[in-house]
C-alpha cells in the first residue's frame, strides 16, 4: 500500500521541479517515481540531476528517458532544437552526473505496475503513446495492471477492457480516477518541466494504491524565472516561449 508520486519530463526546469516536490510533500506521498527526461531543453541540468540522485538514494524509482540517454550516446532521431539543447547540456554535466544518467534502467516493474518513459513494448525506441492505437502495444506487451509513462508532455489515460479494447478516457486535473480492476490502465503523465497541453503549469500525478485512484495534478511555478534562465544560457528562444505558453 503506497501513495506514488509520478513525475516525468523534468527537462532541467528547477523551478517547476521544486514546485512539484513542494506540492507532493504537502499532499503526503511515500514513493517518488521519475519516468525519465531529467535533462534536456532546460537551464538547470546539473541541479536537477543532483536532486534526482538524492531522491534515488532515498528510494525513488528512476527510469531513463531519451534525453538522458542522449547525453552519452548521440541520438539521431532528435530534432535540431533538442540536439542543440543536448549539446549544451552535455557541457554542463560532470562525469558523475553523466554516469548516473547513463546507468538508469529503461523500465522498472513493481508489483502489478510498470514504469517506463515511452511505449512499454519497446522502451528503447522512444515511441510516443498519443492515441488508442499507439497505446495498444503497451497493453499487449505486458500483463501489468497499470502502466505509467511520459514522453508526450500531454497527460492522458487509456483503459483496456476484458475484451482487449483500448479506450481513451477524459481526465479532469485534480479529480481522482478510480483505476477499476476489471480493466488495465495506461497513464501518460504530463510533463513537470515543459508542459505542452496549453496549461503553463507543472504536471505530475499521484497514484494511491489503497484507494486505487490516480489523480492528475497541476502546480503553478515561476515560469518567467525559468524562461529568463533559458535566454541567459543562450538556448534557443523557442524553448523559453514554450515554457511561457505551455504549448
Amino acid at each position: 500500500m503506497a501513495r506514488y508520486a509520478l513525475l516525468t519530463d523534468i527537462h532541467a526546469n528547477r523551478e517547476a521541479f521544486e514546485a512539484v516536490l513542494g506540492d507532493l510533500a504537502r499532499r503526503g506521498t511515500d514513493r517518488i517515481v521519475i519516468l525519465g527526461d531529467i535533462v534536456g531543453y532546460g537551464p538547470d541540468p546539473g541541479w536537477c540531476v543532483d536532486r534526482v540522485r538524492v531522491l534515488a538514494a532515498e528510494g525513488a524509482v528512476i527510469v531513463m528517458g531519451n534525453h538522458d540517454a542522449a547525453i552519452e550516446r548521440v541520438e539521431n532521431s532528435m530534432n535540431a532544437i533538442a540536439r542543440t539543447a543536448i549539446e549544451w547540456t552535455r557541457a554542463q554535466l560532470d562525469p558523475a552526473q553523466g554516469a548516473f544518467l547513463a546507468g538508469l534502467p529503461y523500465s522498472v516493474a513493481e508489483d502489478d505496475l510498470i514504469f517506463v518513459h515511452a511505449s512499454a513494448d519497446s522502451p528503447k525506441d522512444w515511441i510516443y503513446v498519443t492515441s488508442e492505437r499507439s497505446a495498444w502495444p503497451s497493453f499487449a506487451a505486458t500483463k501489468a495492471r497499470a502502466i505509467f509513462c511520459g514522453h508526450v508532455h500531454v497527460p492522458a489515460i487509456y483503459s483496456c477492457d476484458l475484451s482487449s479494447r483500448v479506450q481513451s478516457q477524459r481526465i479532469t486535473a485534480g479529480m481522482p480516477v478510480p483505476l477499476i480492476r476489471s480493466r488495465r490502465w495506461l497513464a501518460v503523465v504530463g510533463s513537470v518541466g515543459q508542459p505542452r497541453d496549453g496549461v503553463a503549469e507543472a504536471a505530475y500525478a499521484i497514484y494511491d494504491t489503497t484507494t486505487n485512484e490516480l489523480t492528475f495534478r497541476r502546480v503553478p511555478y515561476d515560469r518567467a524565472a525559468t524562461s529568463a534562465k533559458v535566454r541567459a544560457a543562450g538556448l534557443p528562444e523557442t524553448l523559453a516561449l514554450r515554457l511561457l505558453r505551455g504549448s
Binding site: 483503459s159 476484458l162 475484451s163 478510480p178 477499476i180 480492476r181 476489471s182 480493466r183
Partner: protein
C-alpha cells in the same frame, strides 16, 4: 473459472443468504459479514458466457460511482468484488421493495403525489450536488427508507462529472428506460442533469394520473414521438386536478431541456410553494395540442440532432441556476440599504441568468404573548409588508416564475431566515446589515447569526460609514464561508 453466486457461498468474508431479486442484468442476495451488523445485500451482475459488454460496463460504472456517493439518498457501499473471481457490490440493505408497487397503485391523492414529489426532488438535488446524473430514473430504481428518504439504486447508466464516462462509446443505441427517457437522451446526450428532471416529471405524472405520459413504447420509433407529441394534460384525465401541479409536471416534461426546470432545487421550490407557481398555458391546457400544432412540431423536430449545447457539467449547471434568497428590510430608514441590496442581486443575476430570486421580509413577533397574526393589527401588518415586498421585488424586472416573495414571522429573525434557506435548498443568501454603531449592534447581530449558521454562502451588504452622508456607490460586500 469464475465463481457463480449461490446460497451459502462464502467470499471475501461475506456469506450469501437468500436470493432477494433476479433481474435482467443482476441478482441481489442477502449477505452477512462477521464485522458488520448492518443488514447487507450483494449485487452480482449476470454475465453471460464470453464477453458481455453492456452488463460488464454498466457494472464497472456502478463500481466507479457508488463508492463516491454519500448521504441518505444512496445505499452505503461496503465492498466491491474483483472481476477476476466474482464481480459484486455489497451495500447496506434498504428494507422493503422498490416503489414499483406504489406506482402500480396510482393514481394517488394529490397531497400524496406532492409529498412524494418533494421527496424525490430533494433526493435528486442531493445526487446532482455530488456531480452525478442518474440517467435511468424509474419507479423500479427508487426505494424509500423507513425514515422516509428516497434512495436511488442502480447507477449502471449514470454519469459522474469528473470520472471517465465508460459508457460513452459503448452503445450505439440510446440508453435508458423507454417510458421515462428524456428526448436528449434519445438523441444520445449523456451529460445533462435536466434529463433526470424530465424523468422525475414523467414519474410525478404517473403517480398523479395512473398513466405514463408517453405510454409504454415498445421500440425507439415509439420513444421518438415525444419529440413532437405532447402528453395528455393531467387535468383532462382527472377532475379538479390542480393547475399548478400540472404546470410543474408539464414544465419538467418540456422537450427542450432549456424550457424545463434548470435544477431539481428549482422544481422542489415550486412543489413546496404551490401558491407562488406562475400558471402559464401549460397549467391551463385541458386537452392535447391540435393536429396542426403537432404537425408543425414534427416538421421542426424530425431532423433535429440535439438541443442547445449541454451544460459543461452538473455543478456548473446548478451554479447557473441557483436559488438566491434576499432578506430585505423595507423600513423607511433602511431605504438606502435596500437599494444596495437590489444592486447586488442584479449583479449576480447578470452572470447567473437562470437564478431564481426568493425575496423575504421578516416580522419579528413577541416571544411570549398573543400571536400577532390573529389580531387585526397583525393581519394588516402582514398584508402591508407583503404588498411592499412585492413592489420592491418588481424592480428586478423578472418574470413571475423567476421571483417569489414571502413574509416570515417569528421571535428570532435569523432563525427564520436560516430555516427558510434550509427548507428551500437556497444556494446564496443576500442581506443587509446596518453599521456597527452601538445602538444598532442588536440589529446587526441578525446578519452575523445568519453568516455563522447558514448552510450556504451569505453576502452581507453594508453602507460604508463614509457614504451615509453622500452617495458613494460602492457597497462593501463580505462573503461568508459555509457554516
Amino acid at each position: 473459472m469464475r465463481i457463480r453466486p449461490h446460497k451459502g457461498l462464502q467470499i471475501d468474508g461475506f456469506t450469501l443468504g437468500d436470493c432477494l431479486h433476479t433481474g435482467g442484468f443482476a441478482t441481489i442476495w442477502d449477505a452477512t459479514h462477521a464485522l458488520y451488523r448492518t443488514p447487507l445485500v450483494m449485487k452480482v451482475p449476470t454475465i453471460l458466457d464470453g464477453y458481455d459488454g453492456p452488463t460488464i460496463v454498466g457494472f464497472e460504472v456502478e463500481q466507479m460511482i457508488m463508492p463516491r456517493l454519500t448521504g441518505p439518498h444512496v445505499p452505503r457501499v461496503y465492498a466491491e468484488g474483483d472481476f477476476a473471481t466474482m464481480p459484486y457490490i455489497v451495500t447496506e440493505r434498504i428494507p422493503g421493495d422498490s416503489l414499483l408497487k406504489l406506482f402500480r397503485s396510482a393514481p394517488l391523492a394529490v397531497e400524496e403525489v406532492v409529498a412524494l414529489a418533494v421527496k424525490m426532488a430533494t433526493a435528486l438535488h442531493e445526487l446532482h450536488k455530488q456531480h452525478v446524473i442518474h440517467l435511468d430514473l424509474k419507479p423500479a430504481n427508487l426505494m424509500m427508507r423507513e425514515s422516509g428518504e428516497i434512495v436511488f439504486v442502480d447507477f449502471g447508466l449514470s454519469r459522474h462529472d469528473h470520472l471517465p464516462d465508460l459508457l460513452a462509446e459503448e452503445f450505439r443505441i440510446p440508453m435508458g428506460t423507454y417510458p421515462y427517457i428524456a428526448p436528449e437522451q434519445y438523441l444520445r446526450s449523456r451529460d445533462d442533469l435536466r434529463s433526470d428532471i424530465y424523468a422525475l416529471g414523467a414519474m410525478i405524472y404517473e403517480l398523479a394520473t395512473g398513466r405514463q405520459p408517453f405510454g409504454e413504447p415498445m421500440n425507439l420509433r415509439g420513444v421518438r414521438k415525444r419529440l413532437w407529441r405532447d402528453p395528455v394534460p393531467p387535468r383532462m384525465l382527472k377532475h379538479r386536478f390542480p393547475d399548478w401541479l400540472q404546470e410543474v409536471i408539464l414544465r419538467a416534461l418540456e422537450v427542450d431541456p432549456k424550457d424545463r426546470y434548470q435544477s431539481a432545487a428549482q422544481m422542489l421550490f415550486d412543489l413546496q410553494h404551490p401558491a407562488q407557481v406562475k400558471i402559464t398555458a401549460r397549467g391551463e391546457k385541458l386537452k392535447q395540442d391540435g393536429i396542426g400544432e403537432v404537425f408543425r412540431r414534427w416538421r421542426r423536430m424530425r431532423r433535429v440532432k440535439g438541443f442547445g449545447p449541454p451544460p459543461a457539467d452538473a455543478l456548473s449547471q446548478m451554479e447557473k441556476a441557483p436559488i438566491l434568497m434576499v432578506a430585505v428590510d423595507l423600513s423607511p430608514e433602511m431605504e438606502a440599504l435596500a437599494l444596495r441590496l437590489l444592486q447586488a442581486v442584479r449583479r449576480i443575476r447578470a452572470t447567473q441568468s437562470d437564478a431564481r430570486v426568493a425575496c423575504v421580509n421578516v416580522i419579528k413577533t413577541a416571544r411570549i404573548g398573543i400571536d400577532q397574526t390573529t389580531d387585526d393589527a397583525g393581519v394588516n401588518l402582514h398584508v402591508s409588508r407583503l404588498v411592499a415586498l412585492k413592489s420592491w421585488a418588481a424592480q428586478f424586472d423578472l418574470s413571475e416564475e423567476q421571483v417569489t416573495v414571502a413574509i416570515l414571522e417569528g421571535p428570532d429573525p435569523a432563525a427564520e431566515i436560516i430555516a427558510y434557506a434550509v427548507n428551500n435548498q437556497v444556494d446564496h443568501i443576500l442581506m443587509g446589515a446596518r453599521g456597527s454603531s452601538s445602538t444598532r449592534r442588536y440589529l446587526g447581530s441578525v446578519s452575523s447569526q445568519v453568516v455563522a449558521e447558514a448552510p450556504c454562502s451569505v453576502t452581507v451588504v453594508r453602507i460604508p460609514s463614509y457614504a451615509i452622508a453622500g452617495p458613494v456607490p460602492t457597497a462593501m460586500v463580505e462573503d461568508g464561508a459555509d457554516a
